[in-house]
């Protein structure tokens, strides 16, 4: 039997069957969590933001139109929640980030060098300005299509590509700096 589509489930939520949101949560909360975690660098904040996003989906269900696609709509809400959180915590983000990097390194990899590299990549990502981190997170992990990212960020496809390239370049510089490597 074919699974009910995301959009159909969200339309059911909009129509008053709030239980359908539980199915959407099961399908998408892990992906949304990873996005929030990469944006904030903090597990507890990422979980709060996922919870906040799903509750806002319930609150703003009327804004889900018949022709809306769930994932971009949901990410739009999640993105606003993330950006608001980052604005609120802008002053003390750095110390929290440091603390979180420590807590993120609980399960050692088979090769200790992998742990080091993962941690440096995470730290480098967190050191990027929010706008560049966002375009990189969206294009590297979340969306295959530039059109979707452009719609989410409200800019052109060309602008997404330029931003992604600049973000990658800056990430590389930060990574090399943190790793103590000499650029090629």
């Amino acid at each position: 039997m074919k699974d009910t589509t995301d959009s159909e489930l969200m339309r059911q939520v909009r129509g008053g069957r709030t239980a359908a949101l539980a199915t959407l949560f099961e399908r998408h909360h892990a992906r949304l969590y990873r996005y929030c975690l990469r944006m904030t660098g903090q597990r507890s904040a990422a979980e709060d933001l996922v919870q906040d996003t799903f509750m806002k989906m319930l609150k703003y269900k009327a804004t889900f139109r018949d022709d809306s696609e769930l994932v971009p709509w949901m990410f739009g809400i999640g993105r606003n929640a993330c950006l608001a959180h980052l604005r609120r915590t802008a002053d003390d983000r750095h110390p929290k980030h440091q603390q979180d990097v420590e807590t993120l390194s609980q399960e050692p990899a088979e090769d200790p060098r992998d742990d080091d590299q993962h941690e440096i990549v995470r730290r480098a990502l967190q050191a990027l300005p929010v706008e560049r981190r966002e375009v990189l997170v969206l294009s590297r992990y979340e969306f295959k299509s530039y059109e979707e990212i452009a719609a989410l960020l409200d800019c052109s496809v060309g602008a997404v590509k330029v931003r992604a390239h600049r973000a990658l370049k800056q990430l590389r510089e930060i990574y090399l700096d943190l790793a103590g490597e000499v650029p090629a």
């Binding site: 539980a22 909360h29 969590y33 919870q51 799903f54 299509s145 530039y146 992604a164 390239h165």
Partner: protein, 265 residues
Amino acid sequence: MNCDETPALVIDRLKGVCSPADEQRLTAHLEGCVACRTEAAATEAIWQRLGAAEVEVPSARLRARFHTALAAHEAKASQPWSERLLASFWPQQPALAASFAVALLLAGVLAGRLLPSPVDAEVAALRDEVRTVGLALLDHQSAAERLLGVEWAGRTTQAPEVVNALLERVQYDSNLSVRLAAVEALRAQMAQPGVSAGLASALGRPEAPLLQVALADALLASGDSMAIDAVRAVLDTDELDPAVREYVETALMGLDAANRQDTEA
């Protein structure tokens, strides 16, 4: 093609969306341009490193919190389960309903006489113990435990210390879900002294728009004039979230319209 076009095509290639024609152009350019080839290799290396980071999974606590919040939302939107249960077996005909009520009354009186008093004392002691455990849950370090505490508090008889503990959760809890659940639990206790004032004092804090909406909703639903005035006052706050402002304005307009209709009637 020239070097300016390379970065975008390199990103396309890394994302796997490069067309065959562009792939061919890019390959040809990179073969002849050392600078672009070096840049493309470095870009690819950091792209791969980003992808190699292990996949994080959320804790089971997140699921529990979500389902608690969803249940709270549904409970608010629908009739209480106790009323539904009662309605399912309670006779519809007045004569039968009256007979049923008398039978229940007699059964209650009989059960009360049969129960020995030491058991009452034990039950009272047990209730005290449960209350102590419940209050401890409300103050627990873990948000999930505090949510359980709020759930217990919502179901139990509302002693003043339980109400105060819930108000403290609304005001100071670091976790939004706990705060929202505490507001829901207090909705049934709005007539108790200090509840409206406690919720109103939390309303002015702008850091959690969702909480402000829940607080405004609870205060307006109480029908208490001081509570409604407190909601009106929040509109004067400069840093009020636009969504909260819209919600409060709409709710107040609805309330005012309803009041006008009552006056005219």
